[in-house]
C-alpha cells in the first residue's frame, strides 16, 4: 500500500481554516466514500484495502459503518462552522476496495446518510451523478436494483481483461463471462456503465489486448477507463518483477496498446476526455473525477480517504481500526494535511489540466509555461489547432503518451 504523504498535523476537531471554507463555497462539492474491503487482494493493487482474514473483529463491517456515520457528522460540524450552510453535493463516488463487498442495503444506507447530511442540487433532490465501483463477480440484479433505488446512477466495473491468462496473472477471481452479465443487470437497473481495463500485464500480447477491448466494446459501455499496469512498490507484482519471475511492463509496448485502445474506442464512438478515460458523450464523462482534475472540493470519507477543500488537502489514517478508534474518541481521523501555496496550486492545475481533452487555457500559464508552448507544438506534443483557435493547450496523441514530460517542460522549463 502506498505510504501516506508527509504533511502538517490536523487540529483534533478536524476544523478547517475559514479561508478554505470560503474558497470552497463558490464551487461544486462532492463526496467520496472509501470501502476498504476485498475478498482477495490482487497482486498488482496497492489501494487501501483489506481482506476479511487481515481484519480482526474490531474492524468489522458494522464498526466501519458506524465510523463512517460519525465522520459524516464530523463533516457537518466542520463545514457548517460559523453558521455556514452545508454545501449541496454535485457528485458522489463510492470506491474501494470493493464497495459491493458491503451488502447492497448497507451500501445504499450509507449513500442515503450522505444525501441526508448534505443538500443536493440536482433534480429529484439528488446529485447529478452517484457512482459506485464494483467487481464483476460481486453484483446481483437485486443488489443493483437496491442501489439504483438509493440514487446510484453509474457503475464502474473492474473488468481489467477478457483474456483468462491475463486475468490469472492479475489474480482476478472473476470469470470473463461475469462482465457481460454484470453489465446487463446494471443496464436493466438503469445505471450508466463504465468498464475498467488494464493493459501491459506481463504476458499480454497486443492481440490479447485487442480482444479485451473488443469484448468490452461489445457490452456497449457508456464509459471506459484504460490504465497501463503500474508496478506499485510493495505489491506482490513488484516482488515478482524484482525476482525476475515476471517481466517488467515495457513502456514501448504500452504505447502501442494505448494507441490501439484509442483507435478502437474512437471507432466505437467513445472519445477521450482524460488521458486514461473515454466517454460516449459529454454527459457520460465522470463528473466526479473531473472535479478532482479541475481543482474541485470534496470530502473523502473512510479509512485512508483523501479530501480537498478550498486549497487544503488532507488524508485519513489508513487502517480501518485506527480510523474507527479515532472517530469513536471524538477526534478527526485525518492523519495530516497540507495547505497549498499558490505555487503548489499552480503546479497542480497544470499537472491535472494537461491530461484533459478540454486542455488548459494557455493564458493561465506562467511565462515560462507559455514560453514552452511553441516548442511543444513543434515537437508534436500539443495540438496546433486548439492552441491557435482556442488558446488552449490540448495534447496530441504523442503528447498524451508523454504527458508527464509535457508537465515538466511547462512547469520546470526542462
Amino acid at each position: 500500500m502506498p505510504q501516506l504523504p508527509d504533511g502538517e498535523p490536523v487540529p483534533t476537531d478536524g476544523s478547517l481554516p475559514a479561508t478554505a471554507l470560503d474558497a470552497m463555497a463558490a464551487n461544486p462539492f462532492s463526496a467520496y466514500l472509501h470501502v476498504p474491503f476485498c475478498r482477495v487482494r490482487c497482486g498488482y493493487c496497492d489501494f487501501n484495502t483489506y481482506t476479511p482474514g487481515e481484519l480482526g473483529d474490531a474492524a468489522s463491517v458494522p464498526n466501519y459503518v458506524r465510523a463512517v456515520e460519525r465522520e459524516i457528522a464530523l463533516a457537518r460540524e466542520v463545514l457548517t462552522r460559523g453558521g455556514r450552510a452545508m454545501p449541496p453535493l454535485t457528485t458522489v463516488f463510492v470506491g474501494g476496495g470493493t464497495p459491493t463487498m458491503l451488502a447492497a442495503p448497507m451500501l445504499a444506507g450509507l449513500v442515503g446518510r450522505l444525501l441526508e447530511a448534505f443538500g443536493t442540487p440536482g433534480e429529484h433532490g439528488r446529485p447529478i451523478e452517484i457512482t459506485t465501483e464494483a467487481n464483476p463477480d460481486s453484483v446481483t440484479p437485486e443488489g443493483l436494483e437496491i442501489l439504483a433505488q438509493a440514487g446510484v446512477s453509474r457503475i464502474s466495473i473492474g473488468m481489467q481483461s477478457a483474456v483468462p491468462h491475463v486475468l490469472a496473472t492479475l489474480d482476478r477471481t472473476h470469470d470473463p463471462t461475469a462482465v457481460g452479465r454484470a453489465v446487463r443487470w446494471a443496464k436493466d437497473a438503469g445505471l450508466q456503465v463504465s468498464l475498467d481495463l488494464i493493459y501491459g500485464t506481463p504476458g499480454e500480447s497486443l492481440a490479447d489486448w485487442e480482444h479485451s477491448l473488443r469484448t468490452a466494446l461489445e457490452q456497449e459501455p457508456d464509459h471506459v477507463s484504460a490504465y497501463a499496469l503500474i508496478v506499485e512498490d510493495g505489491t506482490r507484482l513488484a516482488t515478482q518483477v524484482r525476482r525476475g519471475e515476471l517481466p517488467a511492463p515495457d513502456p514501448d509496448d504500452a504505447a502501442d496498446s494505448y494507441e490501439l485502445a484509442d483507435a478502437l474506442l474512437r471507432a466505437s464512438g467513445l472519445r477521450w476526455y482524460e488521458v486514461s478515460n473515454w466517454a460516449r458523450s459529454d454527459t457520460a464523462r465522470c463528473r466526479h473525477n473531473l472535479g478532482y482534475w479541475t481543482g474541485g472540493s470534496w470530502w473523502g470519507f473512510g479509512p485512508g480517504a483523501h479530501s480537498h477543500v478550498g486549497g487544503v488537502r488532507w488524508w485519513n489514517v489508513k487502517h480501518p481500526r485506527a480510523y474507527a478508534d479515532r472517530l469513536a474518541s471524538g477526534t478527526t481521523p485525518a492523519a495530516a494535511r497540507e495547505i497549498l501555496t499558490p505555487d503548489e496550486v499552480y503546479d497542480e492545475t497544470v499537472l491535472l489540466g494537461v491530461r484533459l481533452a478540454d486542455g488548459l487555457p494557455i493564458d493561465a500559464l506562467r511565462p515560462e509555461g507559455r514560453g514552452a508552448v511553441a516548442a511543444l507544438i513543434a515537437d508534436g506534443l500539443v495540438q496546433h489547432e486548439a492552441a491557435l483557435r482556442d488558446r488552449r493547450l490540448v495534447l496530441s496523441m504523442r503528447g498524451r503518451l508523454l504527458a508527464d514530460a509535457v508537465v515538466r517542460r511547462l512547469v520546470l522549463g526542462l
Binding site: L229, I230, D252
Partner: protein, 615 residues
Amino acid sequence: MLQPHATPPSAIRNFCIIAHIDHGKSTLADRMLQITGIVDDRAMRAQYLDRMDIERERGITIKSQAVRMPWSVTRESGASDAYILNMIDTPGHVDFTYEVSRSLAACEGAVLLVDAAQGIEAQTLANLYLAMENDLTIIPVLNKIDLPAAQPEKYAEELAGLIGCEPEDCFRVSGKTGMGVEPLLDEIVRQVPPPVGDADAPARAMIFDSVYDTYRGVVTYVRVVDGNLNPRERIAMMSTKATHELLEIGVISPEPVPSKGLGVGEVGYLITGVKDVRQSRVGDTVTNAAKPAAQELGGYRDPKPMVFSGLYPIDGSDYPALRDALDKLKLNDAALVYEPETSAALGFGFRCGFLGLLHLEIVRERLEREFNLDLISTQPNVVYDVTMEDGKEIVVTNPSEFPGGKVADVREPVVRATILAPSEFIGAIMELCQGKRGTLRGMDYLSEERVEMRYTLPLAEIVFDFFDQLKSRTRGYASLDYEADGDQTADLVKVDILLQGEQVDAFSAIVHKDKAYAYGVAMAGKLKDLIPRQQFEVPIQAAIGARIIARENIRAIRKDVLAKCYGGDITRKRKLLEKQKEGKKRMKMVGRVEVPQEAFIAALSSDDTGAKAKK
C-alpha cells in the same frame, strides 16, 4: 635533553627512511618513536605518522613526516652522549617520489629499507639512486626479519651487491617486534654525518613543506642551514621579499612543541599567522628580515605533472570554493598544478596536473573530504606537443583542445621504466610491453632468478592500467618504477563523442590510432546505457574529425505518463514534480539532450582510470 636552539650541530643527525612501498618504513618509524620515548605505549598506534584519514584507510604514506627524537649513545667508557635525531618517514609509491626527493634534501643520511621476504624492488632502486644523487650516507637495512618467509642471507647478498658493501654490513631489524632497532639508531649516530652550516652567518632555512591549518593559518616546515631563527623576529621569504613576524617556532616531536628557536641543522616549523597561502612556497628560503642572507639556498626542481584531468564542482556554485580549496591543498602538495578551464558540458572548473593516477585520486578525495566538495573528474590524459604544418606549436593538456586540421607532428611523453621481477616472467613482461608500444633498452640479472628490465614506454600506456596488468601477469611479483624521459612522435588521434551531432568536450580523448576504434565503440556503448531516453531520438557518435567510427542510438521514449490519477494521487504527483525541480540542478544540457550528472560521473569513471591505483 638537548633543547632546540641549544643543540650543537655536532649532536644532530638528520636522516630519512626510504624504501619500496610497503616495506615497512612507517612501522619502523613507530618503533623509533617508542624507543626514543617520545610516544608512550598508551598513545602508540600502528603507523603513527600516517595522520591523514586517507593514509590510514589505504595503509600507505602520502606525506613525508619529520620528527625530532632524543637519543643517547653509550661509549665504551660507560659515559653517554646525547644526540638529536631528525627522522623523516617518506612515502613509497612512485607518484610521491617528489615528496621523497624533498625529504632527502633535508638530510645527510638515509636508511634504505628492504623487506627481507621480498628483496629489492623497483622503488628500492629508484629511491637509492635519488639518495646517491644527494650524496647521502646510506645505511642498508633488512626489515621484517621476524617473518617466517624472510630470507635475510639471500637479500643481504642482493643489497650488498647493489650498494657495494659487505652482506654483514646490512642491518637486520623487525619494525614489528622492535628487534635490532636500538643498534640501528646507534649506527645512524655513528655513520650519518652531522649537518654543516655557519652558525654566525645570516639565517637561511629551506622550506620543505607547508600546510594550511584552519586555526593557525599557514604552518611552514623548514630546515635551518645557516644562522638561527627566533620567535618574534621578522622573517623574510627570499623569493617574494615578503616579511612576516614569527608568531611561533618549534619542533615536531611528534606533536608540535614551541621552542626558543631553531639553530643550524635543526628541523622544525614556523607560524606567522599569515592566511594567504601563496606566501609560503615550498623550496623558498627563509631569512631574517633585519639581517637578510645574500644568497638563496638552491630550491627544488618543480616536478612535472604526468597526467592531467579536469576537476569540476558538481554544483556550479561551488567553483570559488574549489579554487580556494586547491590553493590550500597546493601548500601541502607542491606537485599539484591547476589552472581554470571551462567545459561546455561541465561548466567552470580546473585543469589539474598530477604525478600519477594515485595522486589524482588522493587530491580529489582530499578536496572532497577536507573541503566538503562534490567533484567530477574527467578522463585523465597526458600532455601532447602538437606541431602544425605552419610550424605553430600547441601544448595540449585537454583533449578537447587537440587541433583539427593540418597537424604535422604529434609528440607524446615517454618514460624510462624499470621492472624488477623473477626471471621466469621475462616472456610475459616482454609481451605486455610490446602491446603497450614499449622498446626494451636493457636487461640485467640482479641475482640468478631476479631480473631488472628497462623499457621506454609511452607514458599514456603506462599510467592507466599497465601496473594492474603487470601484476596479474607476474602473479604479483613484479614491481615497477618509471621516470619521465622526453617524448616521441606518435600516431595519435582525437576521438570525439557527439550527442545528436553536438560534441561533448568532456568525453574527447586522445588515443593511439590502433585503439581509437575500440575506445569509440566502448564510450558510445557506455553512454547509450547511461543516458536516459529522451522525447526524441538521440544518436551517439564517436568520430575522428569528420569520420564517424562508432554509433549508437538512444531511441525516443514513447510513453512517459502515469496512467491513473485519483484524488489520492494528486499530492504524490505534485511532490514528485517538486523533487524533479530539485533534480533539474543535477541535469546538464548538451544541446537539447538532458544528461544527468550521474551519467557523466559514471561515463568518466571508466574502469581504466585506475580507481584501484594503489601500489
